[in-house]
Symmetry: none
């Protein structure tokens, strides 16, 4: 259980709880639930208070704090207190109900997405983002991998990087990803996309890629997931916490936002970017009416 650093004032702790939630044990999840449901109260509570409210032993509360990367309960509370500053007003009326009409649904969804943008920003780790940009600029070749919904995100990233003139491939076929990873060498960079971070078809190739000496960046919603464990650099986006996720796929949304940030930073650091964008735009101009 590696302590990450003595940094207080890291990314938003309340969001971080969600992003490691799936890796928590049953008792720790209870603690997480109590904290998330009423952080204002949790900040003033003692270990004992919290453990009683959650119906778990005190030890579990401490363990929970440690898993979040804090040295102890105290640091944890301090960080949550900081999250409470400027906390967006509660979400009571953003919930979409069955009776809502079309425009209401559109409005509520827009508000929810707005919040997702903020949350994504709150989770940004500047160092990691910088590292990702530098590694991508330095890489000889970039391989974007993803399957399922994340496979489509992979195609999107490929498209962006290609238009910036980078040497990039994207794959979303599990077999081809595996084969591709087997052939990587030093100087190559893997960009693995997996919301859960636990997709075998992605984790195994990423491990292989590392073994072959390639660098690994991953985009995920779960910080303590296998893929994050194997990656050199983790880009974290909020995990879903929207109401009725009926085909809305909120993580797709946050992924796209993160990729927008990433590719914008890339283009700023590449002096050939605008030229490449222009060339590519021009190349399809005669395909228009």
């Amino acid at each position: 259980m590696a302590r990450v650093g003595p940094k207080l004032q890291q990314a938003n702790t309340l969001l971080m709880i969600s992003s490691i939630y799936s890796s928590l044990t049953k008792a720790e999840k209870k603690v997480a639930d109590v904290v998330k449901s009423n952080p204002e109260e949790a900040v003033l509570a003692t270990v004992t208070d919290l453990s009683e409210q959650a119906g778990v032993g005190e030890t579990s509360v401490i363990r929970f704090c440690r898993k979040l990367g804090f040295r102890g309960f105290h640091e944890f509370k301090l960080s949550v207190a900081q999250d409470l500053v400027d906390r967006p007003p509660s979400v009571s009326n953003m919930e979409i109900g069955d009776e809502d009409d079309v425009i209401t649904v559109a409005r509520k969804l827009t508000m929810q997405h707005e919040r997702l943008l903020k949350n994504t920003l709150d989770l940004v780790n500047v160092d990691n983002l910088k590292a990702a940009v530098d590694k991508m600029l330095a890489a000889e070749r970039i391989f974007v991998y993803g399957v399922g919904s994340s496979g489509i995100t992979a195609l999107d990233l490929h498209y962006r990087l290609m238009r910036l003139g980078m040497n990039v491939e994207a794959h979303r076929d599990a077999h081809i990803i595996a084969m591709s990873a087997a052939l990587l060498k030093k100087g190559d960079l893997v960009f693995g996309i997996s919301t859960s971070g636990s997709t075998r078809d992605l984790v195994d190739p990423v491990r292989q890629a590392k073994k072959n000496g390639a660098g690994v960046i991953c985009l995920t919603s779960h910080l303590r997931s296998p893929i994050a464990a194997h990656a050199d650099t983790v880009l974290l986006v909020p995990s879903r916490e929207m109401s009725r996720e009926g085909g809305a796929l909120s993580t797709k949304f946050t992924q796209i936002h993160m990729l927008n940030i990433l590719t914008t930073l890339l283009s700023m650091k590449m002096d050939t970017a605008s030229e490449a964008l222009e060339k590519t735009a021009l190349s399809v101009a005669d395909k228009l009416y």
Copy 2:
């Protein structure tokens, strides 16, 4: 020394210290000095740490906290921690400049995207949206077409609709789109995606589709474009007007938002939607670690 309440997050505590400074005793002033000179450290310190640093007794530290209106040292630290949160300097202009650092770029991009969401909402035509939902629900088969960047959006829509259990295909190869459109018949529905609305590879097949008796919905940024002219129903998203679009691809963003709205509405009207979502989610569960 009336304790006011359990309110944390009152006025700025560091400023409060200055404002009562003159009424502090000599020892308390020493404490105040230490805190003010290095609040970051003070927040992590214990009573003993602080008393040693200030060269006073522990009791004086406690008395100092009480004079500020806190119940104890603990509450005091919590409040100082909140003061240390650096509020994002409200950036006056959202334009990204070459000199902006990573976090500033991220912030500005987030603000720009927020605006895009609002703009997308403003452009929503409720009648068209309703019509689109109804037609999609009524269609026997849905064919999503798109090339280039919009081709990837097409895949995304396909994924969503598939997960909702709809009968849907997506194509992004110009030739295959053309052939697919040639075979359509009444009862089929084309969902054409084209930011410009002028892509020949999309416009021609859409025309063909209409001729074959299929319905046509299009998602575009240009209302008076060829594809919009041929469509029965037009879903409009804002056209790019962002600053330096260095790989940011803002229309992708608004398209995704619109599709989120659309598919949410669809899932609300389909009683089989949640079942389909569950089934599809379950189908890949054993692919996880």
